[in-house]
Symmetry: C2
Subunit: 373 residues, 2 copies
């Protein structure tokens, strides 16, 4: 390995600047239970962009450096600096997952068994050429499956499965999903069809309705439609869904979902209660596509909850057995149930080209970038 | 019993009107395990006003009838009528609790044992002269305790105790309480002092700070102060409180509490996380003093929850043993820990006089009405 190792890093400086760059780092030596992976493909997930952009205003971004070693600088609004103080001056490695080929291993049997194999990996800093990872962070992929196919084996598949397991653990019988035409949403749709769970898909555009309908989705409602409340309430009555997952957060969608759930639950109430029904209604916020405030209008009684939903915390709650079962299912179904679809492929350097940043920073539903190394 | 029985009732009519009146009803006959209570004192709790006013605009209220049999009519804004449809045309009895003397009983030993006793009672419609109640809805009060002293034996005492038990059950170590100078807040303060639990009291006025400080409260912060965020964060660091109870709801107080909890939790963080700390932060909304939207600004990471908190649902979760222990403690400490303070006493008829309604509809902290029958 005489090659150079490169890592995409994100740094906030104390003069309110964000700097993105490819830094040369050591090629790592694996410890006993570790492997070195030559990374081949990594998705750009919304959760990666959070670390990468660090609340900077990307409309102010300028590009310098060379085409091979681009550097991006952007302004961080002063009001966000206190929230970022723990990372000022530190070069954070970017990238939460990806896949590649194991080119060196530690001395343990588990490490050695992965030599030469294609593995998916989860862990900080996958946007680099050579990554040293613990065996437990790796998922061995079936022969014949490419690194591109395996690149998104953790974040979206585990999140979608964790939603279903949370629904079961908390006693709900059907699910509502917002921004449902996303890669994650399509995955959740496939899981729910396979497992016989009713899923109410909320989308914003007619073409997203068509996309999901063509994938076999039964309940699709369009939040841009004049009949959204009536449509959503009808779907909630049909499915009995009382748990929702929303990656948007800002605005009043969570509130609208709770209101329609309450309308569905109270439709047969014969006794009036000032407190609303005793049907417990839950919305989990798992993203921040809209960073604005969440506005909850109080028209859904007192039996409700709105909670943050963060994959790593949720996996901890679900327990080891469920976690192992999830990983097995993902490995077995990575090209079917858990297949991801990418609309753009870029090199590591191209990831830091302004024209690409302008596209993936929008986080538009239906658009997804893959970094090919 | 040749007396007339009277019940304060609240009716919404389909022409968008609220009507409050005293209706003559039958003097009840007790069933086997029931008692008839001559009601003597009932508090006007915020939860009673919800049923009583039914979202009507009380600034439009007019009074008719006689001084002894007043009738109040007010307009219900058209936009609320769909939320009220289950109660249109029904005369709802008002009053969730009170105390009085048992004047007749059913044949069971438990019922007979209460004959002639002063009891507190929980159950719909206590604003009446004679109430028939199940023995299980009654709490026998120690000899020498008056009905006035026992009038508020359930709603506030059980709510305050349920907050402490919820804190314990969910693994928190200290409590934040908003609108903390209320009768309920004072009660919670006494429980926390007795049980050695740190309590952060949020108030809005200097005189409320003084009131609570004179009652031994250690942590008091004023949300009207310029240093509110710093004061609250300091109190959260000192106490480690990660659960809050808020009767206000509307506005951004819940959001501010979560933000300060996150600031307290992250003060020692050495590693930056775009997701915030993994310290779970909880706000329970147990009232609607401000009916406006709850605005959650997302500056507190992903480990958080905002949930409705309704006494009856919470008691169900806490289990029978805890419920029995709570009732015993209330009966033993009704004139000390669980003492209520009333600023106004009115007769049943005076409850429906406009000048009184104007006062108690404000739900001002520190003002509380007692109906003496």
């Amino acid at each position: 390995m005489t090659d150079t190792n490169l890592q995409l890093t994100s740094t906030i400086t104390d003069d309110n600047k964000l700097e993105l760059a490819l830094r040369e780092i050591e090629i790592p030596q694996p410890g006993e239970n570790q492997v070195v992976i030559q990374m081949q493909a990594c998705p750009l997930n919304p959760s990666d962009l959070g670390v990468m952009f660090g609340l900077a205003d990307m409309t102010t971004a300028i590009q310098s450096g060379s085409a091979d070693r681009p550097v991006i600088r952007a302004e961080v609004p002063a009001k966000f600096m206190s929230a970022l103080k723990a990372r000022v001056g530190k070069s954070l490695p970017v990238g939460n997952e990806g896949a590649g080929k194991v080119i060196a291993t530690g001395s343990s049997a588990a490490a050695k068994s992965l030599m030469g194999k294609t593995v998916a990996v989860i862990g900080g800093g996958t946007y680099r050429k050579y990554l040293c990872a613990d065996v437990r962070s790796c998922l061995e992929i079936a022969p014949g499956t490419s690194a591109t196919e395996a690149a998104s084996s953790f974040v979206n598949p585990l999140t979608a499965l964790a939603m279903v397991e949370t629904m079961r653990a908390e006693g709900h019988k059907a699910i509502v999903h917002a921004a449902a035409a996303s890669n994650l949403g399509q995955m959740l749709n496939r899981i729910c069809i396979a497992d016989g769970i009713d899923l109410v898909n909320i989308v914003r555009k007619p073409e997203q309705e068509t996309l999901l309908r063509d994938m076999g989705a039964k309940y699709i409602v369009n939040s841009s439609s004049d009949s959204f409340y009536a449509d959503l309430t009808a779907a909630l009555i049909a499915t009995g869904a009382t748990i929702a997952f929303d990656p948007i957060g800002g605005g009043k969608l969570a509130s609208d979902i709770l209101t329609c759930m309450e309308a569905a639950a109270s439709r047969n109430m014969t006794e009036y209660s000032v407190y609303g029904t005793d049907v417990y209604k839950q919305v989990y916020i798992y993203g921040a596509l809209d960073r604005g405030p969440i506005n909850l209008n109080r028209s859904f009684g007192f039996a409700w909850g709105v909670n943050g939903f963060l994959l790593f915390n949720v996996l901890g709650k679900l327990g080891a057995q469920t976690n192992i079962a999830m990983r097995k299912r993902i490995a077995a179904e990575i090209t079917t149930t858990f297949a991801s679809h990418y609309t753009h492929e870029v090199s590591l350097a191209e990831t830091l080209h302004l024209d690409n940043i302008a596209k993936y920073a929008k986080q538009a539903t239906g658009e997804k970038f893959l970094i090919k190394l």
